[in-house]
């Protein structure tokens, strides 16, 4: 068995003295783990940092084996992200969530593409938090728990959608939402690709995606939202980005 693909390093767990089990997110193979020999060498350590993009060749005798990765550097962006503590919190959160939420060896090309976009966006501190929220919504959608934000679940209206039903994950328009506003989740405009990002939008978006990620993806497998995500929220709050 052998395949070769570009991937994003998500997690590196030491294995023995010189090797590591590395989790990468690829376009065609999804989240995939493999053993990297010499992973803790001076040459490989900078490459195997979460958030770096690599060229991976996976080989195993049988498909169900862990297999071995041969890793080459492709786009080593983690070093640049490390300088910015808010972006680093975003990267940690995205990696932790991808490891926890995505099943192994199941292709999710949209999640991979979104992650790549997020990595590029880390340069722009005003933009990336919104892309992060959209990426989380994309994870939900790709796993089959997508939010239906196209039209109001009650009236079918496509404009002025302000809330989301916590039960169905479908949008509700302002008029219908008014009597139940306290029970509904707020829907920021940027999540529908409309309007500029306003104060409070990122917090709303994170609450919305966090609610569904927790209840639909993580709780059924006895997991909680990663602590890195909580740290990201505090960090965004600290810099006034929420």
């Amino acid at each position: 068995m052998e395949w070769r693909d570009r991937g994003i390093v998500l997690q590196v767990r030491p294995h023995g003295e010189t090797s590591a089990i590395v989790d990468i997110l690829t376009e065609t193979q999804g989240r995939h783990a493999g053993l990297v020999k010499g992973a803790r060498s001076r040459a490989m350590r900078p490459v195997l940092q979460p958030g770096n993009q690599v060229l991976a060749t996976w080989r195993a005798r049988l498909s169900e084996h862990l297999g071995m990765f041969q890793i080459e550097a492709d786009d080593l962006g983690a070093g640049a992200v490390m300088e910015d503590r808010t972006a680093l919190a975003g990267l940690n959160s995205a990696c932790a969530l991808a490891v926890m939420a995505l099943p192994e060896r199941e292709a999710h090309p949209a999640v991979h593409a979104g992650f790549q976009l997020l990595l590029q966006a880390f340069e722009d501190p005003d933009l990336w938090p919104a892309i992060y929220v959209r990426w989380e919504a994309g994870v939900l959608s790709d796993l089959g728990y997508g939010l239906d934000l196209a039209k109001c679940v009650v009236t079918g209206e496509t404009e002025d959608l302000t809330h989301v039903s916590p039960r169905t994950g479908r949008a509700v328009c302002r008029e219908e939402a008014a009597p139940y506003a306290a029970k509904l989740l707020e829907l920021p405009g940027f999540m529908r690709g409309r309007g500029a990002i306003e104060k409070g939008d990122i917090a709303m978006g994170l609450e919305l995606t966090g609610y569904f990620l927790e209840r639909r993806v993580l709780w059924p497998v006895d997991k909680q939202l990663p602590e890195a995500r909580t740290r990201l929220i505090s960090e965004l709050e600290r810099v006034g980005a929420l």
Partner: protein, 201 residues
């Protein structure tokens, strides 16, 4: 690993030696044979040294360094600067900095770094004691000498936040081209950091 010719004592010795870093079952067997062959000049002194170290060496309650005394020799040294504390991940890092001889202040060993994926949380590290030490009147600078990895820098940013109310200057080690390093082989992050930290020649 069990061989028909070796008794349980030798097997136990080999098994324990094989747990040391750098030694596998085969090299552990060679080491055991070497020890047994030089019983008086190597094995007994080594056993005494191990027993002595196990009995006497302890973690310093101030900085987390390993020494036979508490506070350790670094914390007790009168000729070191009290104003600067260098924060390191492990005792190995402390020893590396001491070998370089570049820092003459005090140290603080965290005992690891925060890791979102391995579940290492702030409570698992020696952070509370660091904040206490940073709040002491004579401390003016905290140097974060943590690894330039995602986990190391996450910890550095977290510590910078925690140390902010202490009113000390928080610095970190520079990143750039290592001695003997060739630009062609450096990763993008290091090159970018080196450029940002360029200095006049």
């Amino acid at each position: 690993m069990r061989s028909a010719s070796a008794g349980p004592e030798i097997e136990r010795l080999i098994t324990l030696l094989a747990k040391l870093p750098g030694l596998g079952p085969r090299s552990a067997r060679r080491a055991a044979l070497q020890l047994l062959g030089k019983r008086d000049v190597l094995m007994r002194p080594l056993a005494d040294a191990l027993a002595d170290a196990a009995d006497k060496i302890q973690a310093c309650s101030t900085c987390g360094n390993l020494d036979v005394t508490d506070p350790c020799a670094v914390c007790a040294a009168p000729n070191r600067q009290d104003g600067a504390i260098c924060v390191v991940e492990t005792v190995g890092d402390l020893w590396a900095l001491e070998r370089a001889g570049a820092f003459k202040g005090r140290y603080h060993v965290l005992g690891g770094v925060l890791s979102a994926l391995d579940g290492v949380r702030p409570e698992d590290l020696n952070i509370a004691r660091l904040v206490e030490r940073a709040s002491e009147a004579d401390v003016t600078e905290i140097v974060l000498a943590l690894n330039a990895t995602v986990d190391g820098q996450t910890t550095a940013h977290y510590l910078a936040d925690k140390l902010e109310p202490c009113g000390v200057s928080v610095t970190s080690l520079a990143r750039g081209v290592p001695v003997g390093g060739e630009l062609d082989y450096l990763d993008d992050g290091t090159l970018a950091a080196a450029f940002r930290s360029r200095s006049s020649v």
